[in-house]
């Protein structure tokens, strides 16, 4: 069962950029090899942590969105835990939320379709200023 997940993890701040890229590529490979698909990876950059994590007060945030099944998520989390450069991670399931958002979007779209159907006040509106202009003139 493929589901849409969002994995955010923090990499130690003392890791070089090339190593960071390699690390991300490694995690992407685990996802693709495990039968999942990577939707996007995004380096959110260096950020100050809200509290100390393994005595680090800064960290490189990376966001990975993917379609995967439960076993793959477990495997990825295991790898994240084992990898020493990763100091913290969180996996959030997004498919239900996405479904809800799509639903709201669809409802909004139908509502928008209704509003242009009522152009009755629209032609009247331009008349009013004209009349007002005449009255003032």
């Amino acid at each position: 069962m493929q589901r849409f997940y969002e994995v955010m993890f923090i990499v130690r701040p003392d890791v070089q950029d090339e190593d960071l890229d390699k690390l991300i590529a490694g995690f992407e490979a685990t996802v693709t090899n495990g039968g999942g698909t990577v939707r996007s990876t995004e380096k959110l950059g260096r950020r100050k942590l809200a509290y100390l994590v393994r005595k680090f007060s800064e960290g490189n945030y990376v966001l990975l969105t993917m379609d995967a099944d439960g076993a793959l998520v477990a495997e990825l989390e295991r790898r994240l835990r084992v990898t020493e450069q990763v100091i913290k991670f969180i996996t959030v399931r997004m498919d239900e939320e996405q479904k809800r958002l799509d639903k709201i979007k669809a409802i909004r779209a139908t509502k928008k379709k209704v509003s242009p159907e009522a152009p009755v006040p629209a032609p009247e509106a331009p008349e009013a200023p004209a009349e007002a202009a005449q009255a003032s003139a």
């Binding site: 923090i10 809200a50 958002l101």
Partner: protein, 104 residues
Amino acid sequence: MSDETTQIAPAAAAPRAAAAAQAGAPAAPGARKFFRRKKVCKFCTEKIDSISYRDVNLLKQFVAERGKIVPRRLTGVCTTHQRRLTRAIKQARNIALLPFAVKY
């Protein structure tokens, strides 16, 4: 047509205003003491659908100085959105975007 509607509109608005004035009048002396702006849910009015744990600036508005989640009765957020907000804040805390507690 437009003139008619414009005439009707203030007429309709007037009783409402009058009613508001009447409602406001008896409360006026005490109102200054207990005056409270009617609180509305930020997420409902601004139509913010998704409350993501990544949106730190949004979440920060609902976290007290000390790092606590501000209760609904103070912020006016509706039940549904408070629930989602709480979840988002807790997720954000987990990934060190928000503090669990701020030390002084």
